[in-house]
Symmetry: C2
């Protein structure tokens, strides 16, 4: 049940552009994603994505699913309506400057690397901070 205080916490959690991008990705792709996938999709630092995802979780928007080393985050569904309305709204945000669109392109490339629908590799990005942690990803890539 969402009361006024938690509603304002939910809105606050969406007031950050990085967090909004995360939610948009999850809304559009209708699947949960692990942190490393989000890091690559957003081209942001790992600790940053981790923090933002935690904020979204404690606000009650996301829920997490641990699978070995990976932790998948997905949208909480249907908390009596507010969340669903928000998801509907987030899907409607226009994106002339291609912010969400760029994220979407990167996430689609990243999702190709899944095996059996799950993430099997770590980070791939190098651009936004050189946060490479797997220097030889077991990826056939083509």
């Amino acid at each position: 049940m969402i009361d006024p205080t938690s509603a304002s916490a939910i809105f606050k959690s969406l007031s950050d552009l990085t967090r909004l991008r995360i939610v948009r990705l999850l809304v559009v792709n209708q699947t949960e994603m692990c942190v490393c996938e989000l890091v690559d999709a957003l081209n942001e630092k790992q600790y940053n994505v981790s923090k933002q995802v935690k904020i979204l979780e404690s606000a009650g928007i996301l829920e997490s699913n641990k699978e070995g080393r990976w932790i998948y985050y997905g949208l909480k569904q249907n908390k009596k309506g507010l969340l669903d309305s928000i998801y509907t709204g987030v899907a409607m945000i226009e994106d002339k400057a291609d912010l969400f669109t760029s994220d979407q392109k990167r996430v689609e490339a990243r999702m190709q690397l899944r095996e059996d629908g799950r993430c099997k590799i770590g980070l791939v990005q190098t651009e936004n901070g050189g946060t490479v942690s797997s220097d030889s990803p077991r990826v056939s890539h083509g």
Copy 2:
């Protein structure tokens, strides 16, 4: 048109409980209200309500209508969907602690004082700050 940046501004503007209460009042009552009516409904200080209402306006949620000394604030409609989704969601927030409900009771009493659907008096409240500015409101009260 609402892009990602203005969307996050909209969410941010709703992250404050006072502002959420204002939007809830406007969503539920489907009418624009002047600042002094909101002040009485929320039982908040005038300068506070004025500030919050301005923030909502610059975020793109509210629009204002000047009528002589009074300025009415109402919900912007249908900016391609995000706002309407939000209004739908805000209407669904549960209120077990009677925060919104108390506002609603006060606003209903206050709206009774309108003449021809417009506000004709100033502030009535005295409780939350003694911000009385009209010491003899032309109100028959019963």
